[in-house]
């Protein structure tokens, strides 16, 4: 399995073939608490890096999820509509949000790796 890259908004990105899968990190789901609803982007939408394109709602609050890279949405995780708690149970597995066809795959390589993200989380604590 390809390695994960991370944004400062606590999203992860995994490039597999032509598309990059995106979700929120374990740190993010822990901070959010029990997820009760997700609003996912439309398939086919062209998105810019940093654009708010999804919303995750926990019991206590709504939070934006941002496009980590520019590209086109090619798939969303329909399983989250019926079972948004997958985001808590498996944030980097079954709890993925959407897949993007990257405009420039080099944008992914520029994101944080495991060690850099761990340091970033530490610095925010």
């Amino acid at each position: 399995m390809a390695e994960l890259r991370y944004t400062k908004d606590h999203e992860w990105v995994r490039l597999e073939g032509d598309s990059a899968t995106v979700g929120i990190t374990d740190h993010a789901q822990t901070a959010l608490g029990d997820v009760v609803f997700v609003d996912l982007p439309e398939i086919g939408r062209e998105v810019a890096a940093g654009e708010a394109i999804a919303v995750v709602e926990s019991v206590k609050a709504a939070s934006d999820v941002y496009a980590p890279i520019a590209g086109r949405i090619v798939e969303v995780n329909a399983g989250l509509t019926d079972d948004p708690a997958l985001i808590n149970a498996s944030p980097t597995g079954d709890g993925w949000f959407f897949r993007i066809e990257p405009k420039d795959p080099a944008e992914i390589a520029a994101l944080m790796d495991d060690a850099a993200y761990a340091r970033f989380v530490e610095s925010e604590a």
Binding site: A28, G33, D34, D39, E57, V59, K60, A62, S63
Partner: protein, 371 residues
């Protein structure tokens, strides 16, 4: 994602160390560092309170005594509640009103015989105490009690669980107040709460609070719960949060809290804002507080604009979220009186999209108070 607010300059309740030992996630609330949740999480804490019993720290709230001849009459100059008619050993919910008929705060008042005992909101206690102080005649004294802690034990198992260390608590009636001991600790107990469940609010000296909390948490079926669960529980119970659902602009009639106005007070009309209340009772209000059920699973939060199905703006949500026991999104808000009937279709404008919803009766989860 939420930022990491500094909790350095915040006040601590007497249970701050215990919250941290229990793994509480501390957040700023009304100037205090308070646990929003423990490791179990808001959903589990909420459901546990409805199934068994939960312990909440509400020591940030303002406690005070009103002493002296004429204390009840003095308080009645600031509230439409019937304070003079409150029998010894009884507690009542009331509103402090403003001269133009808004709500200054909501509060609990208990008649302890020789004095009145008050509990007010943390976010309002400085303003409340100043306002009360300014209205007192000679011989009546307000004594704030900053050295007292307050905890709430809430849930259907609360009475049976606490009986092991306080045998006289299960015999109390709803809104009864008494001075007693719990596990040998002097406590002022009321049978009341903010969850819609049976339970007790327990005031103790700050230096005994941790021992009390530990004794309660050691009881079978009792788990700690934070402010997150407290908020979702009170919202399902249809109970107002000051600053969200009621404030200086909302009147008691608009807030559907007319029942807090004493019958005698409705003949005397001698409380702040009486003119507005009287006119609204006679002619109706422009807007009313109602319950709202969004269709589907998506919550609508406070400040969400409420539209009629034709797109016209008719109000705003004041509290909204996901109700774990309702297993659905629930909300409260104000709408034009013409749209306040149960079942009326509404559109909630969430992130620019119209979310269909209906006016729904409050509470969302039936109250289960001891009667």
């Amino acid at each position: 994602m939420a930022g990491s607010d500094s909790t350095d300059t915040l006040l601590e309740t007497p249970l701050g160390a215990l919250h941290r030992a229990l793994g509480g996630r501390m957040v700023p609330f009304a100037g205090y560092a308070m646990p929003v949740q423990y490791p179990a999480g808001i959903m589990a804490e909420h459901l546990h309170c409805r199934a068994q019993a939960a312990l909440f720290d509400v020591s940030h709230m303002g406690q005070a005594e009103l002493l002296g001849e004429g204390a009840a009459a003095a308080l009645e100059r600031l509230t439409p509640a019937d304070v003079a008619g409150l029998k010894p050993g009884r507690q009542r919910y009331g509103l402090l009103t403003t001269e133009d008929g808004g709500i200054f705060d909501d509060f609990m008042v208990a008649n302890l015989g020789e004095r009145l005992f008050l509990v007010v909101n943390a976010s309002r206690k400085a303003e409340d105490f100043a306002r009360i102080e300014a209205a007192l005649p000679a011989g009546v004294t307000l004594r704030p009690l900053p050295d007292r802690a307050l905890v709430a034990l809430q849930g259907p198992a609360a009475a049976t669980a606490v009986a092991a260390i306080a045998p006289d608590l299960p015999g109390m009636s709803f809104m009864q107040v008494k001075a007693t001991t719990i596990a040998g600790i002097d406590a002022l107990v009321s049978r009341s709460g903010y969850t819609g469940e049976d339970g007790f609010e327990i005031s103790v000296a700050a230096d005994t609070a941790e021992a009390l909390a530990k004794a309660l948490l050691a009881l079978p079926g009792v788990q700690p719960a934070g402010l997150g669960a407290r908020d979702s529980l009170r919202l399902e119970a249809g109970l107002c949060l000051y600053g969200n659902d009621i404030d200086l602009t909302t009147s008691p009639v608009e807030a559907a809290l007319t029942w807090t106005i004493g019958k005698r007070r409705r003949m005397e009309w001698n409380f702040p804002g009486a003119d507005r209340v009287r006119a609204e009772l006679a002619n109706g209000t422009k807007r009313l507080r109602i319950g709202i059920r969004p269709e589907g699973r998506q919550p609508a939060r406070s400040h969400t604009p409420v539209h009629a199905p034709d797109g016209s703006a008719v109000g705003e949500i004041t509290s909204g979220g996901f109700g774990p026991s309702a297993n659905a999104p629930v909300a409260m808000g104000y709408v034009d009186r013409a749209l306040a009937e149960d079942g009326t279709a509404l559109a909630l404008m969430v992130r620019g999209k119209a979310l269909p919803a209906r006016v729904a009766p409050l509470p969302f989860v039936p109250h289960r108070y001891a009667r």
